[in-house]
């Protein structure tokens, strides 16, 4: 499964909810405001680092750049819209709006 998350984990619990349902081999893609979850030194960094032991976590490059984020957690995979399309091609999709 590909899980897309588009909300900030500081404001919204959708990433947390998503994490209750991901399984080994699933992939999470952070888009829109969701990309802030990928940064270092935050109060949510441990949660994301822990999640990366189980699943791949991607962040959409265009959204990361738009927010001026430069310090991403080790293990975060940065991808572009083409990569987003490939992820959709490879997995079933659940959008955690």
């Amino acid at each position: 499964m590909l899980h897309t998350v588009n909300k900030s984990p500081f404001q919204n619990t959708s990433l947390e909810s998503c994490l209750r349902f991901v399984r080994e081999g699933d992939v999470i893609l952070l888009i829109e405001d969701g990309v802030v979850a990928a940064t270092v030194g935050t109060s949510k960094a441990d949660m994301v680092t822990e999640a990366m032991k189980k699943v791949d976590v991607y962040a959409l490059d265009a959204d990361v750049k738009a927010r001026g984020l430069t310090r991403l957690l080790d293990g975060i995979k940065v991808t572009d819209y083409a990569g987003f399309v490939d992820l959709v091609d490879q997995h079933k999709v659940q959008s955690w709006l």
Partner: protein
């Protein structure tokens, strides 16, 4: 009129780009600055991301507005505050913040002031009205 200037505060709590709240909120500040009012702006919660330096929105295909923050002081909006805990929770420091203007005398960069919750509560209680974005 000898009447005292009205205090108007803007609270910015949403992250930029995901929705237009922050951007259209900025438009309100710039307009309101032309009127006789005592304006202050407080960035808190995800609103602090609005002040992050180096936003490049080109790949999204949308206009950015980070540069506009650089002229806030020129627009005489100099009471710009950031909630300390919101920044810390997001791993941000003052170094991350955009410059909002230049000191006329010293030519030094002016950055938003980092303040604690109590100070923000106190300021809130002194306002005539508060607009949130």
């Amino acid at each position: 009129m000898a009447e005292e200037l009205r205090k108007i505060m803007f609270t910015v709590r949403k992250p930029p780009h995901g929705t237009i709240y922050v951007y259209e909120g900025l438009e309100v500040k710039l307009i309101m600055a032309a009127y006789d009012a005592d304006i202050s702006v407080v960035f808190m919660d995800d609103g602090v991301y609005a002040l992050q330096q180096g936003q490049k929105t080109g790949d999204l295909g949308v206009k950015g507005f980070e540069a506009t923050y650089g002229v806030l002081v020129d627009y005489e909006i100099s009471k710009v505050f950031v909630d300390r805990k919101s920044m810390e929770d997001r791993g941000m420091t003052v170094d991350d913040l955009v410059v909002i203007g230049e000191d006329e005398d010293t030519e030094e960069d002016i950055k938003p002031s980092v303040v604690d919750a109590e100070e923000i509560s106190q300021m809130m209680s002194e306002q005539h009205n508060i607009l949130c974005f």
